[in-house]
């Protein structure tokens, strides 16, 4: 569970708290086409943004998906925690109602909600609050949010026309570049870790069957050869139970693996955020380029037009348009455009700077989350293994007697 205080970030400790938990998966409407699993969300808060201090609602996975979409579209500057993957394979195999799967999904959703609650911006989002307490989520989505999703912001208009997705940023390695590299490396390391853990879990599965097999064989040995008195009874039991212990270990390790995967996808979201930020910066820079181009043109015009032969001059002569007039008109045009662009640049810079600030905050948040989650994962690992080996030793000590 993430607490709202951490030592790295000396933010003011908020007096309000928000606690959510996802529990009690229940299978709904079984047998019909719309069979699904719903999860109970319990919220306890003392924040004034909520209508009641305690709410309980039931949501299904697609509701979570919708919430995710909303939050990420409307809060571009946040790292919205990632949702557990849809696990299409299990859908096809028809396994999505197995207890194991549901349990895992419930714990992942729990972590998702907790993260959102912990997020300084997201947890104040009205949509999030609606999700937590509004009993009629579907209507809310359809009538209130959907239209909003379809509008775009003013900045987007400008940047759409100027966007060049393949242009590179200016060369100075900003703090964000460093951060991006950092995240990248971290993701590599984590995925390495994840594959190792997966391999171990697989091996442990084979070991489990092996132990059971050996135990069965020893049992048969005893029944086979009555002339030889072999004390296989104890060993048979112990081996079998060892196999069982391995299966428990595997379950727990799988849960921990989910944690690691989660951290990984969180890192991925951060990476995407950084990319978005980079894009915004590109937009701003493009605007600036445009503005400098315009001012060059203006200077050119105001300095008396082009020297020597030019098409526009001759063309104007042909049309009988006054040079000066047209020049002045053009100058006016350019001026006004320049002004508009400058204004846009200013606005954009402000927004961009705010965005940058948010990104810094997100990175810090990510660091915190990453640390605490990995710490708890490591502790869990140690505990799980201690338990496992304690049990095994007990088993075999007992068998000796």
């Amino acid at each position: 569970m993430l607490s709202s205080t951490n030592s790295e970030n000396p933010a003011p400790i908020s007096t309000s708290f928000l606690e959510c938990s996802v529990t009690e998966p229940r299978k709904e409407l079984q047998g019909s086409r719309d069979a699904h699993v719903s999860y109970l969300i319990i919220t306890k808060t003392n924040s004034p943004l909520f209508t009641r201090p305690e709410c309980k609602v039931r949501r299904r996975f697609s509701d979570f998906v919708k919430l995710q979409e909303i939050l990420s579209r409307l809060n571009e500057d946040c790292v919205v925690p990632p949702l557990p993957a849809k696990h299409k394979l299990e859908y096809i195999k028809g396994n999505r109602f197995s207890d194991n799967f549901i349990y895992r999904r419930a714990s992942l959703l729990n972590r998702y909600i907790t993260r959102c609650a912990f997020h300084p911006v997201l947890h104040r989002s009205p949509h999030f609050i609606a999700f937590l307490e509004n009993p009629n989520w579907n209507n809310y989505v359809r009538y209130f949010i959907q239209p909003k999703l379809n509008t775009t912001s003013k900045l987007d208009e400008f940047s759409d026309s100027l966007l060049n997705a393949f242009s590179k940023l200016k060369e100075e390695p900003t703090e964000f570049d460093i951060q991006r590299d950092h995240v990248q490396q971290f993701m590599l390391g984590i995925s390495n870790l994840e594959t190792s853990i997966q391999r171990i879990v697989r091996l442990e599965k084979t070991l489990e069957t092996d132990y059971e097999d050996v135990s069965a064989q020893f049992d048969r040995l005893a029944s086979l050869d009555q002339t030889l008195e072999i004390p296989v009874e104890s060993i048979h039991q112990a081996l079998q139970k060892t196999g069982e212990e391995y299966s428990f270990l595997i379950e727990k390790l799988t849960l921990l693996l989910d944690t690691i995967k989660d951290v990984q996808s969180y890192a991925q979201s951060l990476k995407e955020l950084l990319k978005r930020r980079d894009q915004k910066q590109q937009d701003v820079e493009a605007l600036q380029e445009y503005s400098s181009k315009l001012s060059l043109e203006r200077d050119k015009i105001s300095s008396g037009g082009s020297n020597g032969f030019s098409f526009s001059k001759t063309f104007d002569d042909l049309r009988g348009v006054d040079h000066n007039d047209s020049r002045l008109k053009r100058l006016e045009q350019v001026q006004s455009e320049l002004q508009a662009v400058e204004q846009a640049i200013q606005e954009a810079s402000i927004v961009h700077e705010a965005f940058n600030q948010r990104v810094r905050e997100e990175s810090k948040l990510f660091d915190n989350v990453r640390q605490s989650e990995m710490l708890s994962a490591i502790n869990d690992y140690a505990n799980v293994h201690v338990e496992f080996f304690t049990n095994i030793r007990e088993l075999w000590l007992h068998a000796k007697q």
Binding site: S7, H182, Q185, F186, G189, I190, N192, L193, S196, I197, R199, I200, L203, E204, T206, L207, D210, Y211, D213, V214, Q217, F218, R220, L221, L224, D225, T227, L228, E229, I230, P231, V232, I235, A238, L239, T242, D367, R370, Q371, M374, L375, I378, N379, Y381, A382, N383, H385, V386, F389, T390, I392, R393, W396, L397, A399, K400
Partner: protein, 538 residues
């Protein structure tokens, strides 16, 4: 002795034997060990130091081999303990190495040779054998000892050897002419004890990989014994599928000398004399031994093998996990990095312990299991020999019966045959009888017929023939009696060896897994403590 200490491998293999064998006290307290191995002066072979009663001799692997061969010849009825095989072609192809250079392999051989010697000390016949004594105690080179014995050619079939070679053999002159019987002979009606083939009710190997499947880590030494399926032992007995495994074995009906019209398939149990009950036990025990061996071969050992594989793979994966954690330390802040370091260490230690477990398991459990299998195979061979001897005797009896019937036929109608020739029917019967059921018999007859034409079989030859048969029958009877006397002791020996071995195996499984769990537990407890300390110090 041309042993020099150039490149000395010092390997301490397991030392003293703590066996308590029932009733075989003399062998129980002998301590014999193979304490080290030494490469010869020119580096071409390895010698093993056999230490016994504060004396040691050096023997090489081929010495052991020739000792075993000698024991087989001298005591064809005995269960000779097995020695580790040479490298099978398959495992050599997988991992080409010279035996003398591979420390693991040498360790394996030393352990198995020591086990061999210990079992020899328990064996009632071998341990009092003078040549075995020389092997153990005398510093004379084994080649010299061997060449000083007058051994007949190696290719003698064991059926033509006396069951106990050290005693003076009153029938030595008759040995070479004893008939050879094949094990799956289908006999004429009167009396053949019927052995049952171990039917397919022994579980076939399940999903376990064969022992020759590819192995990642160290190659577990396999001799060719394990590679082959057990062909000879199971075909040693005639098959009649109507019977199931557990029906009682048939007993030969000795009292009938006349060719009775007993259906060869009928089972009669006639526990009149002790010899017969011995035979009954023999057969059923043979079945048990075969079952045991098959089980060990097909089921227990592959499953232990795959467990070993799993454990060795675990070891590499665990250490990789440790290094994955390690590599993350560089990317994270100090606090987290320390934690990561701690857990990385824990996993690496885990990997180490897994390797230890694997090694112990291998040497204490898996190898012993293989040895048990080989011992069972040896026992099967010895029991087969006994059965063959019995068949030999029965065959001779039949022959006697046939010849005496001919004689009586002959004498009853002398006038019908003025000449010394037999009529064609009788001749056919004789050649049928004489043919035996052996290739040699047939060949002999073919040659006679070719060479001598119709005059080959005459009345005198017939009578001589009967005489020979009688003598041979005598020999066979004597042999069977000797064997019967031996059986009890042999079976005791076998049981003692196997049960001690299996007990040791069970204990070893216990010990190695407990140790593994214990060391891992300590390490993880310490890890947890360290982690807590780290968290508290923030």
């Amino acid at each position: 002795m041309d042993v020099l200490k150039e490149g000395v491998y010092k390997e301490r293999s397991s030392l003293e034997s703590h066996e308590t064998s029932e009733g075989l006290d003399r062998g129980a307290n002998t301590k014999i060990a193979i304490v080290s191995t030494v490469t010869s002066s020119d580096g071409s072979y390895v010698e093993y130091e056999v230490a016994h009663k504060k004396r040691s001799v050096w023997r090489r692997y081929s010495d052991f081999e020739s000792l075993v061969k000698l024991m087989h010849r001298r005591y064809p009825a005995a269960i000779v303990p097995p020695i580790p095989g040479k490298q099978s072609l398959l495992s050599y192809a997988k991992n080409p190495r010279k035996a003398k250079n591979d420390a693991d392999f040498l360790g394996f051989r030393s352990r198995m040779l020591e086990l061999f010697l210990r079992q020899c000390f328990l064996h009632p016949l071998i341990r009092v054998d003078s040549d075995f004594d020389k092997f153990i105690n005398s510093s004379v080179s084994w080649n010299v000892i061997i060449s000083s014995m007058n051994l007949p050619k190696d290719s003698t079939d064991p059926l033509r050897l006396p069951p106990i070679g050290t005693e003076p053999d009153p029938f030595a002159h008759l040995r070479s002419s004893m008939p050879l019987v094949m094990s799956n002979a289908i006999s004429p009606p009167s009396s053949i004890s019927q052995k049952q083939k171990v039917s397919s009710q022994t579980a076939r190997p399940t999903s376990n990989p064969s022992t020759t499947s590819s192995i990642d880590g160290p190659v577990y030494p396999e001799s060719e014994d394990e590679v082959k399926h057990p062909p000879t032992s199971s075909e040693a007995f005639t098959t009649h599928e109507s019977d199931d495994n557990n029906s009682s074995a048939s007993i030969q009906d000795r009292s009938s000398y006349l060719p009775s019209a007993i259906d060869g398939l009928s089972i009669t149990s006639n526990p009149q004399d002790t010899n017969r009950s011995e035979t009954k036990d023999l057969t059923s025990y043979t079945n048990e031994v075969i079952l045991c061996r098959k089980f060990l071969h097909h089921n227990l050992s592959p499953s232990i093998h795959s467990t070993l594989n799993g454990i060795s793979k675990m070891e590499s994966s665990l250490s990789k996990l440790g290094s994955a954690f390690h590599s993350l330390t560089a990317l994270n802040e100090i606090h987290l990095a320390n934690h990561l370091q701690v857990i990385a260490n824990a996993f690496e230690f885990s990997g180490m312990y897994a390797k230890e477990l694997e090694q112990e398991f291998n040497s204490a459990v898996y190898e012993k299991l293989i040895q048990s299998m080989q011992l069972a195979r040896s026992a099967v061979r010895a029991l087969k020999y006994k059965n063959l001897k019995i068949q030999q005797r029965d065959f001779l009896q039949d022959q006697l019966v046939h010849s005496s019937s001919f004689n009586s036929l002959e004498s009853s109608s002398p006038s019908a045959q003025p000449s010394n020739r037999l009529n064609s029917i009788q001749r056919a019967m004789i050649s049928q009888a004489k043919k035996g059921y052996t290739i040699f018999g047939r060949l002999q007859n073919a040659i006679y017929d070719f060479v001598d034409g119709e005059t080959s079989i005459s009345k005198e030859t017939l009578q001589e023939h009967t005489k020979t048969i009688e003598n041979q029958l005598n020999v066979a009877n004597q042999d069977c009696q000797t064997i019967d006397k031996l059986i009890d002791e042999e079976l005791e020996f076998y049981k003692a060896c196997q049960s001690t071995q299996l007990k040791e195996i069970v204990n070893a499984v216990h010990a190695s897994i407990s140790k593994w769990a214990q060391s891992n537990l300590q390490r993880w407890l310490r890890t947890r403590e360290e982690l807590e300390q780290l968290s508290r110090s923030i």
